[in-house]
Structure formats: C-alpha cells, structure tokens
Amino acid sequence: MSDDDQDWPNSPETKVSRSTPELVPPASSRQPRALKDELPLDDALPGILDPDAEPSPASEERPPASRKVASVRAEGTRGDERVDDYSTWEIDGLTAEPPPTRKAGWLGVERKAQAEEVRVHLSPSSPAVPENVRRVLPEDELVALGSPARAHRPATFGELLDASLALGEDEEG
C-alpha cells in the first residue's frame, strides 16, 4: 500500500488520491441537469412552433428609413426628410403623438414647429415673398410688315452714304 492509497480517518467510504485533488468537480456541477435544458425548443413545444413555417413580412420589424438603428444614428439626424413623419400629421386639428419608442422631447415639439415654419413660407399674404406670374407667348403673330420695301436697310456704309448724297435729286429731276 502506498501513501496515496491510505485510508483517511472519518471517511471510510471515500478513498481518493492525494495527488489528484483538482480533478474532482465541484458538488454543484455534479448535479443532474433538467430535461427542459437539454431538449431543443421545437421538441419541447410540440405542435406550437412549426419549424417549416416562414415568418410573414408583417410580423418582422421593419428597419428605419435611415437604415440605421437608433443607437447609431448621428445626433441631429431625423431620418429621410422625404419621408413624411406621421407625428406631424394633423387630422381634425389634432397632431399625432410621437411613438413611445422615441425619446421624449425629440420629435414631438421640433418637428411640429418645422411644419409651422413651412406654412408661414407658403402663406400668400407674406410681403417678403413675391408672387410671380409667368407669361406665355401668344399664338398669333404680333408684327406684320406693311411693305417689304420699308424694311430695307442699306447693307453697307457706302450705300448709306450714297443715299444721303442723293438727297434732293428727286426735286431737281
């Protein structure tokens, strides 16, 4: 009998080696695991979850218009400006409340003020914005020559000078 195989007092049923005490697992890890932790979820809930069923598009959460989640949006970015924010819609004089997932005080006040600003710019009674009226070209001709001869102009300086030098020749002739 070696020293390792000696009997310890007060533990006659336990016989361990002194050279491998770390290999003994703790008592908690030696407890048997529950059956529900070992089974897959589909097996644990038979008839409730269909592993072959595809999720419907409506059941999936749609991504934000900016393609970024709220945690990575740049500060001050309010998403695609071309997309109407339904929180600014007015129905029967009531403005919709912002959705609860948004931070308080972010869109509810500022976006509404922006909508009011747009309405001021479009007001026809504003003296700072001129109202332009565009003209259209008339379809009928505006100019008609009474005589083709009257539209003749000298092509050269010499012709013009000759005409001036010939002044009064009609009376003399």
Partner: protein, 191 residues
C-alpha cells in the same frame, strides 16, 4: 478686322506720339481754339480738312487688310463697322464721341462731349468732311444742323443740299422740316 496700323503710340524715350505711323501733337484744346480764332476762313478750312483726312486714313487703315483699297473697304463695310473705326480715330484725336443717325435717307453724325465746345463746331464740321471724303473717296460736304448742350448734329450730303440747308437754317427753318422736304415722297417716313 482690327490691325495695329491705327494704334496711337507714345514713345516717351523719343518724345513722340504716332498714330498709324503718322506723327501727332498733343496740344491743349484752348491753345488750338486760340489759333483757330485768329485764323482766316481759308486757313481754317485747310487746317480742318487736313485734320479730318488724317482721321479718315487712320480709320481706313484700321479697317483694311494688307493691300486692300482703303476706300473700297470702307464703302463695303457695314454701317456699324465703318462707324466704329471712324469713331475710334475721332476719339484718338480727342474730339469727343462720334455716333451715326439716319433721318430718312439722310446720314447724320453726332459729336458728343467735344472739348472744343460750341466754338469748335465749325472745326468739327470741316474735320468730318475731310474724314468722310478720304475714308470713302467720295465728294461730300458737311453742315451743322443743331447743338443741344454737349451734342451737335452734322448732316453729310452733297454741296447743293448742304448749301440749301445753311440757307434754310439762316432763315430759321427747322432742320427736320428741310430734311423731310429733301427726303422726297418716295422714302418719306422711312426710318
């Protein structure tokens, strides 16, 4: 086409001023008018014609290409091109701004801002005559029609018409009425 033949150049080293190769003098307008006032009518006419002929040659040189007939180039040019060169040469002589008007068939030059003032209208009249004759190669006469402030109008026509205009103006007839009679019924109202 513009050439450097009619360019006014100042040679400070030699103390010379040239326009198209011709020597020029820069003299005070008051000194010129003092000389003008003391000259005889014949001397005035010689002086004015010589000044105008120099301007007409300078305008023709600026307009013509190498070897071209100066007068023919001027006659074949558009009224705008001819006026531009005549006005440039006129301005280089320091006689004011030159413009052109048509009153029916009549050709009327307008001189604005001449430093010689109303006393220099006779000189402008004779100078214009010399410039048009040399530039066009035609025998033309010039008579002053009117002066309003700094603008003076000069009619270019034949010797007979300018003589008649002088007589009518001396009688107090409006120059526009005389021009209307001279223009004849065939082209009256033609602008």
């Amino acid at each position: 086409m513009y050439t450097n033949a009619g360019t006014l150049s100042f040679d400070l080293a030699e103390g010379l001023v040239r326009l198209g190769g011709e020597a020029r003098l820069v003299v005070p307008a008051s000194a010129l008018m003092a000389l003008w006032g003391g000259a005889s009518p014949a001397a005035r006419r010689v002086f004015g014609r010589a000044l105008g002929e120099s301007i007409g040659r300078a305008a023709g040189k600026r307009l013509a290409t190498d070897g071209a007939d100066l007068t023919q180039v001027m006659l074949d040019a558009s009224p705008e091109a001819a006026l531009s060169e005549l006005a440039a040469a006129w301005a280089l002589a320091g006689l004011g701004a030159l413009d052109l008007e048509r009153w029916g068939r009549a050709l009327v030059f307008v001189v604005s801002g001449s430093p010689l003032g109303a006393d220099g209208d006779e000189l402008c009249e004779i100078t214009l005559e010399g410039a048009v004759c040399v530039a066009s190669g035609k025998s033309a006469r010039v008579v002053r029609l009117e002066r309003a402030d700094t603008r003076a109008r000069f009619l270019v026509s034949s010797a007979g018409v300018t003589a008649r205009m002088r007589a009518e103006l001396a009688r107090g007839t409006l120059w526009a009425e005389v021009l209307a009679e001279l223009d004849g019924p065939t082209s009256r109202g033609d602008a």
